[in-house]
């Protein structure tokens, strides 16, 4: 791993998409595969320039399907691997995500979301937030993060890899065109100050190949890689803890898949990250995520300062696993919960389900294809308060 081309600690003016690649390099990622798609192409082009400089390998694949499948091979081959795409390409990656879930393969997908469905357009969107959790066929969960700044494109890519390695799961970074193309000063800390998590290996625990269980043995199974003498068998069918796929039974199916689901969902308190401000004595609340959180914060501060509205601010940093318990603890009884989204109301569903008894009204604030302006959010808040 060459270090001289890693960025020295300091400030740099980067686009969000580029900051993502610097984060990946910091996290130790050295394999990138991708396919061009607006507005994510800059992620790939940054990888093409930077990965060889740090001793990594880059390849432009023939489509998004193979890009995502490549991550599976790279991960089991021992590398931290990622790909960047946008919404239509994300649809094509669901098959690989599904395989990644059942085989518990760590890798990172950056989805710089754009409006849909279909080709939609090339501006900003948050229309994949449900697809990230439910788009793969079959059961099982995964982790998804929503960055809202250039700094977070850097920080959350490192966090995404850490989560992928720690929980042996695919992790989705749900960005959008605004934060992907936004330019701002990025602060890069010294490498020694960055927390980096690597997969736990059976060699470290003194477990011999004949005793190694690639899909069992602990809540998050240890991960040996190909080429280490462990005869690792990676499979996509329902399996025993040792990877064996015969003797299928409904009981085996339940045990096999339930553990994989629980691995993520039962650990939501360790995984979920939430940011709150102005939560004291509130009568209303904005719950937001991703780039619209910036607008929401601007709107909340203005409503409080200029009109004295007792409204609080809560940002979901992790969208999945959905932190129902944490939300219920943090949120008091309120009158109205506002949810601004660059879609017609998607996260509103788990929010309403989790907090049904905590608020009298749930109000969606949609903005399609573009970032919410403070006036849009404020006018909706004032309109509802007049009722």
């Amino acid at each position: 791993m060459s270090n001289s081309h890693m960025l020295r600690p300091g400030s740099y003016y980067f686009q969000g998409n580029e900051a993502c690649i610097e984060g990946a390099i910091m996290a130790g990622s050295r394999v990138y595969a991708g396919y061009p798609i607006t507005p994510a192409t800059e992620v790939m082009e940054a990888a093409a320039r930077r990965f060889p400089q740090v001793g990594g390998r880059f390849i432009q694949m023939e489509d998004e399907i193979s890009s995502a499948c490549l991550l599976i091979g790279a991960s089991w081959g021992g590398a931290k691997a990622l790909t960047g795409t946008s919404s239509p390409g994300f649809s094509l990656m669901q098959e690989a995500i599904s395989f990644g879930i059942i085989s518990e393969t760590p890798f990172v997908i950056v989805d710089v979301q754009r409006p849909g469905p279909g080709q939609g357009y090339i501006t900003s969107g948050q229309e994949d937030v449900m697809q990230a959790r439910w788009g793969h066929h079959g059961e099982g969960s995964l982790i998804a993060l929503a960055p809202s700044s250039v700094q977070e494109m850097f920080d959350f890519t490192i966090l995404a890899f850490n989560y992928a390695e720690q929980w042996r799961t695919p992790v989705i970074l749900l960005a959008d065109e605004t934060v992907g193309h936004m330019r701002k000063r990025l602060k890069i800390p010294p490498l020694g100050e960055i927390n980096i998590v690597n997969r736990k290996k059976p060699q470290e625990m003194g477990i011999r190949p004949e005793d190694y269980l690639p899909f069992g043995g602990s809540e998050v199974p240890l991960m040996a890689n190909w080429g280490e003498g462990y005869n690792v068998n990676v499979v996509g069918l329902v399996h025993q803890p040792d990877g064996h796929v015969t003797r299928y039974s409904p009981e085996l199916d339940y045990q096999c898949i339930d553990r994989k689901l629980r691995k993520i969902e039962d650990n939501v308190d360790k995984i979920a990250k939430i940011d709150t401000r102005f939560m004291a004595d509130i009568e209303h609340l904005i719950i937001c995520y991703g780039t619209p959180s910036r607008t929401a914060l601007e709107a909340v501060m203005e409503a409080r300062e200029e009109k004295g509205v007792p409204i609080g601010y809560l940002r979901l940093i992790t969208l999945w696993p959905f932190p129902e318990g944490m939300l219920r603890k943090l949120i008091p009884q309120v009158d109205t919960i506002f949810v601004p989204e660059m879609n017609l109301g998607m996260m509103m569903h788990p929010i309403r389900e989790a907090l049904r008894d905590k608020a009298k009204r749930f109000v969606s604030i949609p903005s399609m294809g573009t970032l919410h302006s403070p006036d849009l959010i404020l006018s909706k808040i004032y309109e509802e308060l007049r009722k």
Binding site: E62, I65, S66, C69, I72, G73, H244
Partner: protein
């Protein structure tokens, strides 16, 4: 007396016996597995290459069932058609792997067609073993891109009206370095070919005509006989010979992906050394 290749296979596991394989009686895939293991065995002994470097990757289909379940090697049983992409990923993580892809004519010729083309075009170092039974066996005998015109299958009950894909020609045109076709009735040639393909840097595509007696509705013996009588060594074929050509069609030297890409990585490393010396 134990079969000499059993040392590479999982005879038993915690859930009972893994052998015999699930393959139907008379299936050609078992023969191909045998030939492959012989080739690998010889390479391990002759070239002194560690067994840990071998990696078997498969897609979906009867031929793809032979990796994770039966082999005592690192392996992956992946997605239909996507094995070339997964293999590419493994190589990107570690170019030292010696990768053998087990695939079928449907897996590599239909859903995997695009990925197959680009692996060949990139000339990535792997050996693709395509077991061609000219139909989709696992799912009950449907038509495949390689099914001959006029053949009857479950989805061409009135006869196939499409051309049959010549996968070897596709591999050649796409950019592979080594292309060969044999049949399960040519064990020695197949073993030599597979050995050469694994040793050779770049993409090796070896198509093995492999019998599916169940769906071809013929006995294995009948089909194996036809593999002898209805094929002709390509170099011996005369114009107008309608028999299926077999043999080595292409064996060239050309830049392999990792060798080329490594030069780019090295150029930055040498820049670094220059900086340090200044």
């Amino acid at each position: 007396m134990k079969h000499p290749m059993l040392k590479y296979m999982k005879e038993t596991g915690p859930c009972g016996d893994r052998l015999p394989t699930i393959l139907c009686p008379g299936c050609g895939a078992g023969q191909v597995l045998n030939y492959t293991l012989h080739a690998v065995d010889q390479i391990i002994k002759e070239d002194k290459i560690a067994k840990e470097r071998f990696l078997f990757i498969s897609g979906i289909g009867c031929s793809s069932r032979l990796t994770t379940h039966y082999l005592n090697f690192d392996s992956a049983w992946t997605l239909h058609g996507r094995a070339p992409a997964v293999a590419t990923g493994a190589l990107l993580a570690n170019p030292e792997f010696k990768i053998i892809l087990f695939t079928g004519d449907g897996d590599v010729g239909a859903i995997g067609g695009n990925h197959f083309i680009h692996v060949c075009r990139r000339n990535l170092d792997m050996t693709i073993l395509c077991m061609n039974n000219a139909l989709y066996g696992m799912t009950g005998g449907q038509v495949a891109p390689t099914t001959p015109r006029g053949d009857y299958t479950t989805t061409t009950p009135y006869g196939n009206v499409e051309n049959s894909f010549v996968l070897c020609k596709l591999a050649e045109v796409a950019g592979a370095s080594y292309v060969a076709r044999w049949t399960t009735a040519h064990p020695q040639q197949a073993i030599r070919s597979i050995k050469h393909g694994i040793r050779k840097k770049g993409t090796s595509f070896i198509e093995i005509l492999s019998q599916c007696p169940v769906h071809a509705k013929k006995s294995a013996v009948e089909i194996l006989r036809s593999y002898k009588t209805k094929t002709v060594k390509a170099k011996n074929a005369e114009k107008g010979d309608n028999r299926i050509p077999i043999g080595e069609f292409l064996d060239i030297e050309q830049p392999e992906w990792f060798e080329s890409f490594q030069k780019i990585i090295d150029s930055f490393a040498s820049e670094e050394r220059k900086d340090q010396n200044e």
